[in-house]
Symmetry: C2
Subunit: 135 residues, 2 copies
DNA sequence: ATACATGCAAATTGTTTGCGGGCAG
DNA sequence: CTGCCCGCAAACAATTTGCATGTAT
């Protein structure tokens, strides 16, 4: 992979990110360093990085493509349905039963994703406060 | 919910489907019974059905919104990465550890999705055949 | 030097919306 | 009768693509 100025910036952003970013978010961050970087470059670079296994794509309920560094410890995602906050969950309950699933289904499973949705601690508090003030 | 001709058709399709269907697929099926049914009607009806809890939305890696009947037994999905075939998996490894996850994260988890990707038995066979014919 | 990457703009694709007429309750 | 629903066409948003130019190797 040819190492252009733009690609360095994008790689850096992906690798620093604490959670999966959309193409738009990536471009916004990139613009801090290189305001002329085009959205199509973001997409093309991400595509290349996907092919090369440098990042992976995630989709939550909103259907937006988000991207995160590959090669992290295996993990899943927790999304707050109120504020949109996303975080990684290091636990994976699937490994233990993946073998059984393969046997039962006849599939050769290569990949899986688990997304959890709920209210983050902050939004739970906010909600509780709102309720009591209405009383 | 007002029971129009179109909605009867759409409800029927969702409820009969063996796996989640995209809006386009739903419209194609609907056209067998009512060729003038518009795609926007499909979307608006699905939206309404979502609100009323009559169906739910799923997204696989391709990012397309797919819809399936709600109120089925809790289950997840297995998608063949070669032919796109999708099927339901009745197993769910999360219930047992959901409580732990809530405690660990502080989230109140309301919903989760698990998608498994791999090769279905047929595509495994096809692949094996291709390989041997190349030898 | 040359192939590959970029920026820009236009094209596609999936989904949503505005409007005038139609139909279920 | 009345408000909700429909079909159609236009609007939108996310993503992809074509093309002329720039640049890493």
């Amino acid at each position: 992979m040819r190492m252009t100025r733009q690609r360095k910036v994008l790689l850096e952003i992906i690798n620093q990110a604490a959670n999966p970013l959309s193409a738009e978010e990536i471009m916004q961050q990139a613009h801090l360093q290189d305001p002329s970087l085009a959205l199509s470059t973001v997409y093309r670079t991400l595509e290349k990085m996907l092919e090369m296994g440098l990042c992976q794509q995630i989709r939550f309920q909103d259907g937006l493509a988000r991207f995160e560094q590959a090669g992290l410890v295996h993990h899943h995602h927790l999304v707050c349905t109120a504020c949109g906050r996303r975080e990684a969950v290091p636990t994976c309950p699937l490994h233990q039963i993946q073998q059984q699933l393969e046997t039962a289904s006849g599939y050769k499973i290569t990949y899986h994703e688990i997304n959890l949705y709920g209210l983050c601690p902050d939004c739970q508090k906010k909600l509780a406060t709102e309720k009591s003030s209405h009383a």
